[in-house]
Assembly symmetry: C2
Homo-oligomer: 385 residues x 2
């Protein structure tokens, strides 16, 4: 297996993109990644997208995007693992390059969510849960994550304010990200006074509905300098784990087994431990998610993720800077694009290209992208060369 | 890259499976493949499915199926390329084994289509076309393939009766397949007298709406004998091509560029030509499709596919036996499962396990699976060891 590098990144301003269609949004990000990489061809493409069939009545993205990028007849594959689709696209591209089958592979992610009304979006997202046992009985994702939050509060004494601190920190980071959907500063009171969605979660605990795309170009590490003038970033680990799709099937609602499994394998693959990670992007679809994820990654003891967030351990100047991009909460969460955008942020941080939100002296970063309530998780570790 | 073998196949009786859910259908076929292969573990899984979100409100099949097979926390990926999703799942599994990343990988395909009414099914399938330029303006797949048929008739003199011969031959084969949805003998008159769907195509030119699944186990060729008592079947080539998603963007409506590209690469990879293929499964979603595909594969000159079908060249005792399983027309077409089921049939033929429909002396087989009107195509060549 060959060493793989990321040599190009592309992302667009996320939000409610009423004047753009699914194909425009994707092609825009993909062309930026191609320009950034300086490649003159693409051998193959992976697209992460959760449910464009439900959101905009369009599947068959392999053909649509190669067509609209002028890349026919190259092979292209759309991959889906709910909100972890983007991470899976990146992982698939890495595998294709590592295997020697292709040299220059594009991994992109996209979702256009705002074309549906609120009920439509809620139904589309609920297809990531167990349709027959969860969605059919009326529970949707805010409710599922509310159960996880309540269980965490009961078991470990996590407080309502600690949840709020995750949102406050991520919005503070998002203010420094020109591509973020909601780059506004908020306080703990903003969260506590926002409308209740599913007790104990309030509106400002939830990531928004977003249109957006992101893209990456990967190639063998030993070819990176042939194409790109930018510092190549090496892929040190790429792993995936799964768990039961239904939350009620788990022995512990507060622990993300799929993330813990993927992280354990990733640390082994990269030959590092949690303390060697300088910067991290995680899947904060709800504030409680970031708390559970930082525990599953081994950054904090089980039950200590809330206290750590409150103490500033995950702030940009903390021990474990988490979501310098603003995370899903502030940057936005076009579900299929999120896993790819996390890698875009880590690559920018490792290159020293993260502008005002740059964290100093970072050499190694980690991304964690997850589907459903953690039914699937993808973890990557990236290193500056 | 390591040589890869198929060591297990599983399929269930296809049709209107009202008493079974998406998960049951998939797990049944997957467990049969695992039993057939004799493996005691699975390292990773790929699932081809076109649009379970629209058909049954369920995405996130990676988590659902690993969960219901007791395989958590192994990695799993759902792939989609419209009706070529199954072929892409097989190709992804091959790549993962060839790369050395995993040893035992399951590639499955599934679709549960009958839960929607006719209009719902038509909408769901139309997401494989260009939503903004084709589907939105009211043309659906029977209409698109009717345009291809009319163009073929105008350009080459292909007759209405020649189209019918494809259906007659595939139903004659399907009679010998106990898993086929419509195993009944028909005549040219049956086709010509069936209800008109989109001129010149009639009901009996069209593949049906089907619930079903199929699964394969792949491993490195040099490990095949460790697991399976059955004759291993070697993967000699695995390729994919894409074309414009919209039919109107092509310079020639009658020629399938994506299939021709994939076939050309596949022949080069396997070191063979069309005349070296003993048995073939192709994507006969409509009768005209089989005619265009046999031309794109190089079995017949451009424009001669219809005459060849009429002359019996694609019958089980013809020069190029095509769709001994009954094809999509008689066996059924659960869209995400089709590409996998094609490989199941070729493996059975190469093992000599195809029962009454066994073609004698076959050493090498080819599968061609396609999305939309050929916006994507996947080709595999398999060889008896």
């Amino acid at each position: 297996m060959r060493d793989v590098a990321v040599i190009g990144v592309g992302i667009n301003k996320w939000g409610e993109l009423w004047e753009h269609s699914l194909r425009n949004i994707f092609v825009d990000a993909a062309l930026k990644a191609i320009d950034d990489a300086g490649v003159d061809h693409v051998d193959s493409m992976y697209v992460g997208c959760m449910t464009s069939g439900l959101f905009v009545g369009q599947e068959h993205l392999s053909s649509l995007f190669t067509d609209y990028m002028g890349l026919n007849p190259i092979p292209a594959t759309r991959v889906e693992s709910a909100c972890a689709s983007g991470g899976v696209a990146f992982r698939s591209a890495i595998m294709e390059v590592a295997s020697g089958m292709s040299d220059v592979v594009l991994a992109g992610g996209v979702e256009k969510m705002n074309d549906l009304d609120g009920g439509g979006v809620t139904f589309a997202l609920a297809t990531a849960s167990d349709q027959e046992y969860e969605a059919y009985n009326g529970i949707t994702f805010p409710g599922l994550y509310a159960l996880m939050a309540r269980a965490h509060m009961e078991k470990y004494g996590t407080t309502r304010e600690q949840l709020a601190h995750v949102a406050v920190k991520n919005h503070a980071n998002g203010v420094l990200n020109p591509d973020a959907q909601f780059p506004m500063k908020i306080t703990v009171d903003t969260v506590l006074n926002s409308v209740e969605v599913a007790d104990p979660l309030r509106l400002m605990d939830c990531s928004p509905v977003t249109d957006g795309a992101a893209a990456l170009i990967v190639c063998p590490l030993d070819m990176a300098s042939k194409f790109s003038k930018a510092t190549p970033v090496r892929v040190a680990a790429s792993t995936m784990g799964t768990d039961t799709i239904a939350l009620h099937s788990r022995s512990d609602l507060t622990f993300l087994n799929s993330t813990a499994t993927a992280a354990e394998k990733a640390y082994a693959m990269a030959g590092v431990g949690p303390r060697d990670i300088d910067v991290t992007e995680v899947h904060d679809c709800f504030t409680i998610a970031e708390i559970c994820v930082t525990e599953a990654l081994g950054y904090f003891e089980k039950g200590q993720g809330g206290a750590a967030a409150e103490a500033g351990a995950t702030a940009r100047d903390g021990e474990f800077p988490v979501n310098p991009s603003g995370g899903l909460k502030s940057k936005g969460h076009p579900v299929g694009a999120t896993g790819v955008a996390q890698v875009v942020e880590i690559v920018k941080q490792l290159r020293g290209d993260a502008g005002e939100r740059q964290i100093k002296g970072v050499k190694r970063g980690l991304t964690q992208n997850m589907g459903g309530t953690g039914g699937s998780s993808v973890v990557h570790i990236l290193e500056a060369v």
